[in-house]
């Protein structure tokens, strides 16, 4: 076991890193727009006039439909007060909301043998926590509490907002670079730049536009993993019991029920563990939405 880290310190470190990565994302976005303007119009302002509205509209649309899309993709239903198991789940969510100082989210249940849970909602006042029936059957009270604490932290940290916005930015960067690609092939680009002869700059700009979508996707995944660690440590701070979540994660790691996972891939980062990729849990990949489960458990146990 490594040296013990204060939960508060880990929370602060995680937040700082997120800010840094987000700044990089914004830089990438601006860079793509400028490169686009440089190659296509030889004028960055026209690109700015096109790129920003596209990005904003895209963000707005994804954002306003997010909750309904997520819930119907997961085929989730509201928790039933009459079933004892689900009543106790509602109770636990109320308790965690008090601990976090948030209004109580709506509680939903997803029929699935997998142990999983996710949170969604545009703002903390209108949020939803959804837990699978598998989690209700297989997790003990303190483990379930750990999972709910994790989801409550996603809500408190506005991770749902961060996820939708970053997804939208990644989408916009991909869109711009695609437009540019096509226009280069059809020979539409480079109008009025024949006599300038700054070939190196042009090549750099083109290279940048090719690489930007890959970088932005990687940055997005990095943010997603960072937020997972943050939600883990925040959740442990809420329950004052890191061991509960650690034990729950251990169960998720060893539990592989049959049957296909359900849900939307876009919201995979909002689940407590990626429901679509179970095998990748042992080693970390730069393409993973979640950090390796073993590392998450190790960090929880070192608190």
């Amino acid at each position: 076991m490594g040296k013990r880290i204060l939960v508060e310190d880990q929370i602060r470190k995680n937040k700082q890193l997120t800010v840094l990565i987000c700044a990089f994302m914004v830089l990438l976005f601006m860079g793509v727009i400028f490169a686009f303007g440089y190659i296509y119009f030889n004028n960055i302002y026209i690109a700015l006039a096109f790129g920003l509205p596209i990005a904003l509209v895209y963000v707005g649309i994804t954002y306003s439909f997010s909750v309904q899309t997520v819930l119907s993709a997961a085929k989730a239903r509201p928790a039933n007060h009459k079933v004892r198991e689900e009543k106790l789940l509602i109770y636990k969510v109320e308790e965690m909301a008090i601990a976090a100082g948030l209004p109580t989210p709506k509680v939903y249940v997803q029929e699935s043998e997998n142990i999983n849970a996710f949170a969604t909602g545009k703002k903390p006042e209108k949020s939803v926590i959804c837990v699978t029936t598998g989690a209700l059957h297989k997790l003990k009270t303190d483990e379930l509490e750990g999972v709910i604490g994790h989801e409550m932290s996603h809500i408190k940290n506005h991770d749902i907002l961060i996820a939708t916005v970053t997804i939208a930015v990644v989408g916009t960067i991909a869109l711009i670079s695609e437009i540019l690609f096509y226009s280069l092939f059809w020979g539409g680009a480079g109008r009025g730049r024949k006599n300038e002869g700054n070939a190196i700059l042009l090549v750099i700009a083109i290279l940048f536009v090719i690489l930007a979508p890959i970088f932005s996707r990687l940055t997005y995944l990095m943010i997603s993993r960072r937020r997972e660690y943050l939600a883990d440590s925040n959740g442990a701070y809420l329950t004052r019991n890191p061991e509960g979540l650690a034990k729950a994660l251990e169960k998720i790691k060893t539990d592989h029920p049959k049957g296909k996972p359900r849900g939307s891939k876009t919201v995979a980062p909002l689940y407590i563990a990626n429901p679509f990729k179970r095998s990748a849990s042992s080693k970390g990949s730069i393409w993973a939405t979640h950090p390796p489960i073993d590392e998450r458990i190790r960090r929880l146990r070192s608190m």
């Binding site: 308790e95 008090i98 601990a99 976090a100 004052r240």
Partner: protein, 187 residues
């Protein structure tokens, strides 16, 4: 440029920055104060709710537990202590008393299979455990809020503003070291 004008501009900028910082800290202090008050009222609500559940519980239990007068009396005593408590710490102490009394009541209930099968009793037990957890978490949130407040007004530059607003640090609630789970009793 006229050096006097330059000095004037610099002074104005400094004053503006100072005013902005003061504004920020003023709002932050007031906001955290409100949060502390609000989380106290949360605890209060839960304490009352719990006290309200006790008569129901007594009604359900009385028929079954004929020989446990002392256990039942302790619960009733703790409840009236909550009802008459005035200060936050008094409230919390009375609540701790109730928690202990309920713990022994639920432990003793293991001896009465008929009672354990009573749906009403089970529901009350669930709800009382739930309110107990809620109280524990609202205290935790209260203390978290107090900590944030104290940190704001005790560190620089907050300490300077807090002095001018004549604010003092708040007391945290003393929470006893108690396990969350009900004790396992064997007879």
């Amino acid at each position: 440029m006229d050096p006097l004008l330059l000095i004037a501009i610099i002074v104005i900028i400094f004053v503006a920055i100072f005013a902005l910082i003061y504004w920020g800290f003023y709002n932050k202090i007031i906001r955290t104060e409100n949060r502390i008050d609000n989380s106290w009222s949360q605890i209060d609500v839960q304490l009352k709710r719990r006290a309200d559940l006790i008569p129901n519980l007594m009604e359900t239990v009385r028929g079954y537990m004929k020989h446990e007068r002392e256990v039942l009396e302790n619960v009733t005593k703790a409840r009236s202590a909550i009802m008459s408590a005035k200060t936050p710490q008094e409230n919390i102490d009375a609540d701790n008393m109730l928690t202990g009394a309920l713990k022994s009541l639920f432990a003793v209930s293991e001896n009465y299979p008929d009672l354990k099968a009573n749906q009403n009793f089970l529901n009350l037990q669930d709800e009382l455990t739930h309110t107990e957890d809620k109280i524990a978490y609202s205290r935790q949130h209260y203390n978290d809020s107090v900590l944030a407040y104290n940190n704001t007004i005790e560190t620089f530059p907050g300490i300077w503003f807090a002095k001018r607003m004549s604010r003092k640090t708040r007391e945290m609630l003393q929470i006893p070291e108690a396990s969350k789970e009900l004790p396992k009793v064997s007879f």
